[in-house]
């Protein structure tokens, strides 16, 4: 008579924290990520230098009189810079973390050892988000350092006792919107990695995605003009990038920001998108990207 071997108690089971640590460990060994971790702060420092130069050229009188307000406005501009940089950074990281794993076939090493597919995807998303958060904090530090250099060291003055009461609320909301932007961009990168299962494919779609989207928007506007039908322009208001770029300007009170950056901003206000619309569309995209990435990961055979 033949018995059946039943076993399984003594071997450690793959845990979520271990998976996240493993993903972070792999990220720490990725040269492209290390290069990005150097390049992105350098770009952020360049933005900081721009801030320093801009503020250094402000008349001393204006600085003395309104430095607190200038700090607020400079912070908002800095957060806008961070939003863009973080988006690019997180897209690349997400595509590398997911796409490369499929491309090199290493995904099967873990899946064949009983690591749940959704658990592994969750660990990857968590690891990317942690890297993104670390990047966000580092960028904030660089931004505030640049402002400190401008006000305290160059102007040797500035009355910060009059920081506007709305500073904390507005900057917190703007910061949260940066993180929401990061999450949606992250999930877009993850989805591209899951669908394409290939690094090159993910990057070639992920990086120019928002540029391509703005071209599509322009084409839709032209079609709208030619056909004299606004429906085409309305379609453009449901694209993710159009709404992501409007989130902060529509949801965070202006408090003189548009006047401050007049002529510099590339995120021109879109009158067809209001705050509620932008937030709803962005959240729907975030959920859709997450659900689709999860479904495909769960259901598709791993042939790599």
């Amino acid at each position: 008579m033949n018995a059946t071997l039943t076993t399984g108690a003594s071997v450690p089971q793959p845990g979520f924290i271990g998976l996240v640590r493993s993903e972070l460990f792999k990220l720490s060994r990725q040269r492209p990520i290390i290069v990005l971790a150097i390049v992105i702060p350098i770009v952020q420092i360049l933005y900081g230098l721009r801030t320093i130069i801009f503020l250094a050229n402000l008349p001393q009188e204006l600085v003395d009189r309104g430095s607190a307000v200038t700090v607020y406005l400079t912070t908002r501009v800095g957060l806008s810079d961070i939003r863009g940089l973080l988006g690019v950074f997180i897209t690349i990281v997400a595509v590398i973390v997911v796409g490369l794993e499929y491309q090199q076939g290493t995904i099967r090493v873990l899946l064949a050892r009983g690591v749940g597919r959704l658990r592994l995807l969750g660990a990857k998303v968590t690891a990317i988000a942690l890297v993104g958060l670390a990047g966000f904090v580092a960028m904030l530090l660089i931004m505030y350092l640049a402002m400190f250099i401008s006000f305290a060291l160059i102007h040797r003055s500035g009355d910060f006792s009059q920081i506007p009461a709305y500073y904390l609320g507005d900057v917190t909301l703007d910061g949260l919107l940066v993180l929401l932007n990061m999450f949606v961009t992250l999930m877009l990168g993850v989805l591209l990695g899951v669908v394409g299962r290939n690094l090159a494919l993910g990057l070639s779609i992920g990086l120019p995605f928002f540029i391509a989207e703005s071209i599509v928007s322009t084409i839709l506007r032209v079609v709208s003009l030619i056909s004299r039908n606004d429906v085409w322009t309305h379609i453009g208001t449901f694209l993710p990038g159009a709404n992501l770029s409007q989130l902060a300007s529509k949801l965070v009170p202006d408090h003189g920001l548009q006047a401050f950056i007049a002529g510099l901003s590339i995120n021109l206000p879109n009158d067809m998108i209001d705050g509620q619309h932008a937030l709803t569309v962005v959240i729907v995209y975030g959920i859709a990207f997450t659900a689709l990435a999860g479904y495909l990961t769960w259901q598709r055979d791993v042939l790599q």
């Binding site: 033949n2 071997l5 089971q13 060994r29 099967r108 050892r113 009983g114």
Partner: protein, 319 residues
């Protein structure tokens, strides 16, 4: 095309063997193509189980279903007593696998590859990492990036990865791929030692000589269907014929053909006598010929190599 039910081939399970893998009516269909057709397999504890078949026979598809990487169209796979579909998360950590080419993080060192996988598997000690690196002979190169490894070294690292958390069962797809002759011998010894420890080893391979030397049981797959499952010696035992080199072979043939047991005897193209023996034993045949005045130069039992048996059973590896 729908899966058809085939009669299960004869099996020879070891008496009292403990079942580690049980595959029942396993089928995988891609569109109209049946990659695996109603497969039944039993693998027992301590087996070194050779899984053979021509390219495209369905071996890797079966292995992927065994490991939960792809879902069967129908049928069941039980590993260590539990269905892989419902208990994969608890059972598969006890299975170490190397599927097709070793999947490695090329940008990391050999050591860091094991560390990354070890972290994901719930934590593996540095001592264990060093042990498996030593087992596969990669301790000296552990600090080098995998990108710089030869194919054989990558193969060894893949096996080390499979051994990392001391699994009860190993599934190895072409483990000798890329290894030099000395490496093949080392791998064979390693697998034998692991089997002696009670580990079950499931190997897919094209190196039939290696399989013949190593495996305790063999299954041959062709066109997605199981052709046979047996011990290697059962497949290679031949049909009871002897090859006899003797002076006066035509006269000896006439003598043999006059016997009830020797009517099918014949001469081959080289003039050697092909015949059965009176009671199936070479010594009895020898005595019969000597008593008849024919002293054989040699009597060889005509067995098949596993390769010959494989080609015969798969019609030359037909695809």
């Amino acid at each position: 095309m729908q899966p058809t039910t085939l009669p299960a081939p004869p099996r020879t399970p070891p008496a009292g063997g403990t079942l580690v893998v049980q595959v029942r009516n396993l089928t995988k269909q891609y569109g109209k193509r049946l990659a695996v057709n109603n497969l039944n397999l039993d693998v027992y504890q301590g087996d070194i189980f050779g899984f053979l078949g021509p390219n495209g026979a369905g071996k890797t598809t079966t292995i992927r279903m065994l490991l939960g990487l792809i879902a069967p169209t129908s049928g069941t796979v039980q590993v260590l007593g539990h269905d892989i579909t419902t208990h994969g998360k608890t059972m598969l950590p006890r299975v170490g696998a190397l599927v097709e080419t070793p999947a490695l993080y090329l940008y990391m060192t050999g050591h860091d590859n094991l560390r990354a996988v070890g972290e994901a598997l719930g934590g593996v000690s540095e001592a264990r990492i060093q042990t498996v690196l030593g087992m596969v002979g990669l301790a000296a190169r552990q600090k080098d990036r995998v990108r710089t490894y030869s194919l054989g070294m990558k193969q060894r690292l893949g096996v080390a990865m499979a051994l990392l958390n001391d699994p009860a069962m190993l599934v190895l797809d072409e483990p000798a791929n890329g290894l030099d002759p000395a490496g093949i011998v080392e791998m064979r010894e390693l697998l034998r030692a692991l089997a002696k420890e009670g580990k079950t080893i499931f190997i897919s391979s094209h190196v039939l000589g290696e399989v013949q030397q190593l495996c305790t049981r063999v299954a041959i797959l062709n066109l997605g269907q199981l052709v046979t499952e047996a011990r290697p010696e059962e497949l290679t035992q031949g049909n009871g014929q002897f090859i006899v080199f003797v002076e006066g072979a035509p006269a000896a043939l006439a003598l043999i053909q006059a016997q009830p047991w020797g009517r099918a005897a014949q001469l081959d193209a080289n003039g050697a006598l092909l015949t059965a023996a009176p009671d199936g034993r070479g010594r009895t045949l020898n005595k019969f010929l000597v008593d008849g005045g024919f002293v054989p130069d040699s009597i060889i039992y005509q067995s098949e190599s596993l390769e010959q048996a494989f080609l015969r059973l798969t019609q030359g590896g037909a695809r």
